[in-house]
């Protein structure tokens, strides 16, 4: 009864491991993709006040003007993007922003370039939008950043857009000015659209700076920037994100959003007006940073595991090839023998094979214990 397009997309590979993990009582999960911190009190209070004040109806399609204004200010200040409240769309999580972006730019058969390994939803969402995902492999040797010639070799007359994420899920790698500038050349030369997923923008270490491709010369009119509140403000359940674009791109995504979603959760929008306090984020990032270092060092000390130090997000993506196991075998082995859950790298694409994704959304104490258990199960 369902379309061939939908039937052809396999269920998420992460799910199977979560199910396996839930069978054990004493499991340490390095599998989840959300911060273990709580939504800031000020945000929760604002949400409660909104409910009490009956602000529980549709908001305008595009989203609360005050919230869009705050977001536009941020985009100008932190992302160097020329923005006004009129080109910000509030969405139900950045996931919706991604979906409407793809649907807005793709005609049937259009190709979208993604960098493998990529967030698991990219390829399916491209397919659902009628497009064809085209994976450009990346490798650890290059810090999981795509090489220009590899991208160029995948460009055809069907290529419509480039979709990428920095800081990256699952690898934690961050694209610098040089890499983004290289992408810019390809995008402009081939008249493509950039869909830039920047949901991990705030979670970045070692003085690295986050750059938005929309801020590069000639890119403003051909970029859709995606972001949200989930990761920076530990608010995954509020389902609130946003997209920024100019001109017809913006009109396109807004049109789809207004027909399919009408408006994003109004209560969440009122709550997130209080989300812009960066002291909470800084505290969280400091704690993430400590965990990152302890986890990288702990994994590197285990024979058979190599782990590069990621520059952003809250994932490490260690190489486990020397153990002689595939990603899936390794992840399954850890669940059964170490009571530690990780996500096998191959669910993020072919280039993820030989790796696993470990998120450090657990305390330092648990990281220490997880490393101890992994070490015992491997050696």
């Amino acid at each position: 009864m369902i379309s061939k397009k939908v039937a052809g997309v396999p269920p998420s590979g992460i799910r199977r491991f979560f199910d396996l993990a839930s069978e054990s009582e004493d499991i340490i999960s390095l599998g989840v993709g959300e911060p273990d911190f709580q939504t800031p009190e000020s945000v929760k209070d604002a949400g409660i006040r909104a409910i009490e004040a009956n602000k529980t109806h549709y908001s305008s399609n595009q989203g609360l003007a005050e919230l869009r204004e705050k977001i536009a200010e941020r985009l100008e200040k932190e992302n160097d993007i020329e923005a006004s409240k009129d080109d910000v769309l509030i969405t139900s999580g950045s996931s919706e922003a991604l979906d409407v972006s793809l649907r807005a730019v793709l005609d049937p058969g259009d190709e979208v370039i993604i960098f493998d390994p990529a967030y698991v939803a990219y390829a399916p969402l491209i397919t659902f939008a009628g497009g064809v995902p085209v994976a450009v492999p990346t490798s650890e040797d290059n810090g999981f950043k795509p090489r220009q010639e590899d991208i160029e070799s995948k460009i055809t007359d069907k290529t419509k857009a480039l979709l990428f994420c920095t800081p990256n899920n699952p690898t934690g790698s961050v694209m610098g000015k040089k890499e983004l500038s290289g992408l810019t050349d390809i995008i402009i030369k081939n008249d493509l659209v950039a869909i830039s997923d920047e949901i991990y923008q705030k979670i970045i270490y070692d003085g690295n700076k986050h750059y938005s491709i929309a801020s590069f010369p000639g890119m403003a009119k051909r970029t859709i920037t995606l972001n949200g509140f989930s990761k920076a403000y530990a608010s995954t359940g509020w389902r609130l994100g946003y997209a920024h674009a100019k001109g017809e791109l913006f009109e396109g995504i807004k049109k789809i959003h207004q027909y399919c979603m009408l408006s994003s959760p109004s209560i969440s929008q009122y709550a997130m007006l209080e989300a812009f306090d960066d002291r909470t984020v800084e505290r969280m990032v400091r704690e993430f940073d400590r965990r990152r270092k302890l986890l990288v060092k702990g994994l590197c000390d285990i024979e058979g595991i190599d782990c590069r130090t990621p520059e952003g997000a809250f994932y490490v993506f260690p190489n486990i090839r020397k153990t002689g196991m595939t990603s899936e075998e390794f992840a399954e082995h850890l669940i059964k023998k170490a009571d530690v859950a990780v996500v096998p790298g191959n669910v993020f694409g072919k280039s993820g094979e030989g790796h696993v994704r470990c998120s450090y959304s657990v305390s330092l104490t648990e990281i220490k214990e997880a490393v101890r258990r992994i070490s015992r199960a491997i050696e």
Partner: protein, 163 residues
């Protein structure tokens, strides 16, 4: 005290068993530097003590805890200090503080049973001249202690989601 000391305190407050080496790794410092900083923090009286939060009930050694509020006549030159120190020196007393409000001192005691606590109140506290009255509240159920969730089943209602 600098930012690094603060960070060390933050880490130790969460888990006092973190080794110098692990703290060093997570802060990109040398273990010796962490060690000497912790030593200084102890010397300065900033780090008081490392302890373990134990659920004695789960260990089948249930204990009785009570908060005892005291109305006190302050000493002429010493205020509440002399009495507070005397009470603090008692081994069953886990916390003593001066508080605002109707009562002056709040004392937390932990004993093996109710009798021991009542003995403490009637024989140790009540006879003291400076204590005008006591108000004892027994703990019925403990949910969180020193930052540790004490109920057997910690609230973990995380839903499974994908991707």
């Amino acid at each position: 005290m600098d930012d690094k000391d603060l960070e060390i305190l933050e880490i130790l407050e969460q888990d006092s068993r973190m080794s110098d080496k692990d703290i060093a790794v997570s802060m990109s410092l040398k273990p010796e530097e962490v060690g000497s900083r912790i030593k200084e923090l102890k010397k300065a009286g900033i780090i008081k003590k490392h302890s373990t939060v134990i659920d004695w009930k789960a260990a089948d050694r249930p204990q009785v805890t009570a908060y005892i509020d005291l109305k006190v006549v302050p000493g002429e030159r010493t205020g509440f200090e002399e009495l507070a120190n005397t009470i603090a020196s008692h081994e069953n007393v886990t916390d003593v503080c001066v508080a605002s409000g109707e009562y002056d001192l709040v004392v937390k005691v932990r004993c093996n049973d109710i009798d021991e606590i009542s003995k403490f109140v009637t024989e140790v506290l009540a006879p003291k001249k400076s204590i005008m009255s006591t108000y004892t509240r027994f703990v019925l159920k403990n949910f969180k202690e020193n930052g540790a969730i004490m109920s057997a089943k910690a609230a973990d209602d995380k839903q499974i989601y994908t991707p």
